[in-house]
Symmetry: C2
DNA sequence: TTTAATATGCAACTGAGTTGCAAAAACAGA
DNA sequence: TCTGTTTTTGCAACTCAGTTGCATATTAAA
């Protein structure tokens, strides 16, 4: 994991620092998009300052290693981009009862046809609904 | 417009108040999702307090007259739901250069197939890319 | 009208994300 | 391995969208 993190940093010419490696390691393990706070929690006592976490995430987004996953919440969530297709991430499902978000297996959705002259960079799909657990407890 | 706003309020059993009518009227005219601040601006001097605007928007979202459109920004954007299909809104395009967002004409996207036991409420598509204007000015 | 229920405005608050700057760490070259 | 330059980090103070509590005003049903 840690090794993989270091490789990723090298691949985009970012200096290899403790905070960056730790943050990337968390992202590599995460099963769904995570917030700054969750990252800090996971790293524990040696977690970097929140400013550093945000700055690192922003660097990683800029290098396209990480994506901001837009969810119906106030807080930003991040996930590794390495499972995304060229123009499309996997869809995210958010339960409107329990607010839990999960990644859906990559589905090949057709890309929306853009008006002439527009360039597609990335298409994201977000789904709201009721998850299995919440439906049963009704 | 104002008449339409009143009808919408009646249809969901919300009391007809000046702020609500004004806010709905702005939403009815808006060509793309708008923020609290933009709504206040459009209404002008007689604009309700920002707390009222937020509370009204939340009421309208709850009644499903309005949707929160999730964009890659810090501020919330709202739009009328009346052009959305039952499980799907029209896609939004955000230019990663100029940050402008626009609605794309309703396209019929297939719905993602959810795992067993899940209920689909709404599917949203968000596209990032370069808009026509920005591409030409490069 | 009158009254009970609901909505509004205000001011103070919250909390995610940002900024500026001094101190620390990374790395290239000697 | 040391040195100097560049980049990164931590801290504290800040910003600003959205929230909360409560007193006052408005709605609409009787």
């Amino acid at each position: 994991m840690k090794q993989k993190a270091i490789e990723l940093l090298n691949s985009v010419n970012l200096r290899q620092t403790q905070p960056r490696v730790a943050i990337l390691t968390v992202l590599l393990k995460a099963p769904a998009p995570v917030t700054q706070e969750q990252i800090a929690e996971q790293i524990g006592d040696s977690a970097p300052n929140k400013t550093t976490i945000y700055r690192t995430l922003m660097n990683l987004v800029e290098k396209d290693l990480v994506h901001k996953a837009y969810l119906q919440e106030r807080t930003w969530h991040f996930e590794l981009a390495h499972h995304c297709g060229q123009h499309q991430c996997h869809p995210h499902f958010t339960c409107s009862e329990c607010q839990q978000t999960q990644c859906l297996p990559e589905v090949s959705m057709p890309l929306v046809k853009l008006p002439k002259g527009y360039v597609m960079e990335r298409q994201q799909v977000r789904i709201e609904g009721i998850c299995c657990d919440c439906r049963e407890n009704k």
